[in-house]
């Protein structure tokens, strides 16, 4: 008993310390002597609270995160199943899950050539059914992810991983095919929730989709699924086997799904019906007064890498091209030619991101004016672009075009050699985006562009099959939000020439812009091998600067990654922009 108590206290201390220190991962887990704000609750007894009410306006439909079709599934699964480690608020791994410590080159956990990573697991962890959690379960989870037949949506994390082997019951060795600078690729964050071998062993390959465990997984996390009504609600009980004897605080959790974001905001700010309301994507003009005047709840936000960006098309989207429409080997009539950079720069100069950030995103409430695509990790944040982005001047943009020979016609649209600066600007159907479009249109037209606005329902926009989709990009500019892992290599890979989307890859590749620049490709190639963190940071900045200064994309606002509402009584909620919002749900208390 005393032993168990001491261990639990050590884990609590380690967890609170790492939280407080924002993931100084070299701290030995047994370090003591911390007085963290959460100490009072951490000392509280397991199950001292009643029911934690979480509301997601998208309902979870499956609880196996590897078969998830969205954040809602993955988040609902996180209460039950856990990865080896989480990504903390500082984008660095945090040992609040199954790993006892974070392996680094310094502590010998990562080999000098960056090909093998040795994970030490916490001792004495049990599955909620009482059986022992071992390294075998970890290796088994990898085998599910690496098997193409399972068709899991998390398989990309297993790409380039040679093997995950259980060295002994508490040690896992991850070996990559080649030196991998992003050596936390497999094991950390939403990619890699560990499943119980016993529960899923009979459901490998194609059979995975039929596993009953998909709806009721056994886990090591703080809660156990009690009932699950797919597309409606999950109720959880606390996991009596949870490794931390004092956690979780709540006896039960109700994870309700459905409805819409504005009424979810109402439920947390005005009626107090819920403790946690996820992703309140509501226009700032409505959200701000609701949160400000609320006596029941407050807004919980944190920045990650989410950027609302405008993409410029380098291929020619003219319907007259027929089968060649939008193919990577076509050239956009004015964005991609001798005057291409001038026209693109003029468009960027006529972009008023400040007004958008202030009026639509509440000036820091849900987003701030941003100028980088690589953002959220201070070391990677470029400063070279600030000057370029600070120049919002429609007159100067007009003059730039004038000087290049793009003369204003009687219809107010600039033209040169019979080519008019007519722009079709597409995005998803969303009140916030339509307002942004209006502001852009107004300013761009002042500079001499003619802008036609188009909006497409999100579920049609994000498909490779739809001609109105982001992938086909059969318009001149388009706008949406995307985000990255803490390592930006794969994300930036989406602008390399090889990734140019077209009919050859079934409109499936990530380079929707069809931007092709060998200098940029070289940087991404170097990122795949460069081991020195300082040099990597410099490469990330270089890649970022090319995309911004060559005006491939126009970042509009850096958006908060988490925009949730929590009740005033809910404590110890420290959001991260790099992992599931539920990454530390065991710490939540009242």
């Amino acid at each position: 008993m005393t032993n168990q108590w001491r261990r639990a206290t050590a884990v609590v201390a380690a967890a609170t310390m790492t939280l407080a220190a924002c993931g100084q991962t070299t701290t030995p887990p047994a370090a003591s002597g911390t007085v963290a704000p959460s100490a009072s609750v951490a000392a509280a007894k397991r199950g001292a609270g009643d029911d934690l009410k979480i509301l997601y306006w998208q309902a979870p439909t499956i609880l196996n995160a590897h078969l998830a079709t969205g954040t809602k599934d993955s988040d609902a699964a996180r209460l039950v199943t856990e990865p080896l480690a989480s990504y903390g608020p500082d984008a660095k791994p945090l040992a609040n899950a199954l790993a006892a410590e974070i392996p680094t080159v310094a502590n010998g956990g990562v080999s000098a050539d960056l090909t093998t990573v040795t994970w030490k697991l916490k001792q004495g962890v049990k599955w909620s059914d009482g059986s022992a959690f071992t390294a075998d379960d970890v290796a088994f989870t990898f085998s599910l992810m690496a098997d193409p037949k399972t068709a899991v949506s998390t398989s990309d994390a297993a790409e380039g991983v040679k093997s995950v082997v259980a060295k002994d019951a508490n040690t896992v060795v991850v070996t990559y095919n080649a030196p991998t600078p992003n050596f936390y690729q497999w094991g950390v964050g939403t990619c890699c929730y560990i499943l119980q071998k016993k529960q899923f062993e009979a459901f490998q390959g194609e059979k995975l989709k039929d596993a009953p465990g998909n709806l009721k997984p056994i886990g090591t996390g703080p809660y156990v699924v009690d009932t699950f009504k797919s597309g409606d609600v999950v109720t959880y009980k606390m996991n009596d086997q949870f490794r931390d004897a004092n956690k979780p605080y709540f006896k039960t959790v109700t994870f309700k799904g459905g409805g819409d974001a504005p009424s979810a905001a109402r439920a947390v700010f005005q009626t107090g019906d819920v403790d946690y309301a996820w992703n309140l994507q509501v226009e700032a003009g409505i959200l701000k007064p609701m949160a400000d005047t609320s006596t029941k709840g407050k807004l919980l936000t944190v920045y990650g890498s989410s950027v609302e960006r405008i993409l410029l098309n380098f291929a020619d989207p003219s319907p007259s091209l027929g089968a060649k429409r939008g193919e990577p080997d076509t050239k956009h009539p004015f964005f991609n030619g001798p005057d291409g950079k001038t026209v693109r720069t003029a468009l960027a100069m006529a972009t008023d991101r400040k007004t958008v950030a202030q009026q639509i995103y509440g000036d820091g409430l849900a987003g701030k004016a941003g100028c980088n695509i690589v953002t959220g990790v201070p070391d990677y944040e470029s400063t070279a672009t600030a000057d370029f982005c600070s120049k919002f001047d429609t007159a100067a943009a007009g003059k730039l075009l004038d000087d290049a020979g793009w003369k204003l016609g009687t219809d107010g649209v600039r033209a040169k050699g019979g080519i008019k600066l007519n722009i079709v600007y597409q995005t998803t159907v969303n009140a916030v985006r339509q307002k942004t479009q209006d502001i852009m249109k107004q300013n761009w037209e002042k500079a001499g562009f003619k802008v036609e606005l188009k909006s497409v329902p999100a579920d049609v926009f994000f498909t490779n099959t739809s001609p109105d989709g982001a992938n086909h990009f059969w318009s001149d500019v388009e706008m949406f939000t995307n985000n990255s892992d803490p390592d930006f290599t794969n994300y930036l890979n989406g602008w390399t020439s090889k990734q140019a989307t077209g009919s050859a890859n079934n409109w499936n590749s990530a380079n929707y812009n069809r931007y092709q620049n060998p200098a940029f490709d070289t940087i991404i190639d170097s990122l795949r091998t460069e081991k020195d963190p300082a040099k990597r940071a410099s490469l990330f900045k270089q890649a970022n600067d090319i995309l911004i200064l060559d005006v491939v994309i126009i970042p509009v606002v850096t958006r908060t990654q988490v925009t949730s509402g929590i009740s005033n009584t809910l404590k110890n909620v420290v959001p991260t922009g790099w992992d599931s919002e539920m990454y530390a749900v065991q710490d939540f208390g009242k």
């Binding site: 439909t61 068709a151 459905g258 009424s263 049609v460 739809s466 079934n506 590749s509």
Partner: protein
Amino acid sequence: MGRYVARRLLIAIPTLIVISFVVYAILALAPTDPLASFGADPRVPPEVRERIRESLGLNQPWHVRYVKWLIAIAHLDFGYSFMSRSPVIDLIWQRLPNTLAVVGVAYIIGVLLAVPIGMISAVKRYSVFDHLSTTFAFIGFSVPTFFTGLLLIIIFSVKLHWLPFIYDSTLKVTSLSTLGDQIRQSIMPITVLALFDTATIARYTRAEMLEHLPLDYVRTARAKGLKERLVVLRHVLRNSLIPVVTLVALGIPAVFGGAIVTEQIFRVPGIGELLVRSIGQGDTPVVAAILLIFATLVVLFNLLADVLYGVLDPRIRYS
């Protein structure tokens, strides 16, 4: 009569097949995609998407999928949902009780209120009651449910804090207090829906009553010296209700279809909510199953309405 019913049932089969084909074709041609929820997520690259698509069977041409689906349906196998990977029929069974508890109860209340209201306003035409009920009926079917729903939420949940607006489908009625909770959580959606149903049926009843009141047989009944009460209840109402019964019967399939808007507003996990979400997510097996069940119910209740017509009105005979 028996032959008539049998013939109608036989005709129903090709009808349903045609309906299922149209439904499936529309779904196949719609641009929605079950993989759209991944957005442009760089963590789910093209190869992975293709693999998922293949595991869902979406790499086959849609007519092949349709034939396979039709064969499965013939064996009463509705397939698996793309989103939850669980049997579609389970999802429907899970949601049916909620839909019946809200939409069904609202419909019953609507009918129970509408018939007396319609009757009284016809008999006391142009009275204060008639004017009030007419106004109420027009409000009922001209104000959309999303508006009345939000209005009720703002008054009773946000301002007064009397009622919850998040429907809890895990609530089990085991005692008086849980029954109270169940009533509290369903009273707003039921009111919204019942308002609409009452309005429609009351107007219909009133119109039918007004049509029958001046007829000869009513005058005869009065001439026989029957009390006005008996004239209205036994003679006029009975005859006027024949088309109303048909209307009510035809409305029953809609109950099983759920109330898309109201269920969404109050987060009632019913069939309507499942349907609209599945359409958005391109979850073809769920959409196809719900629409097919719905179509079957419409066909069956149409038949039932016709049969009832014959039973209630001896002048109508089927051969």
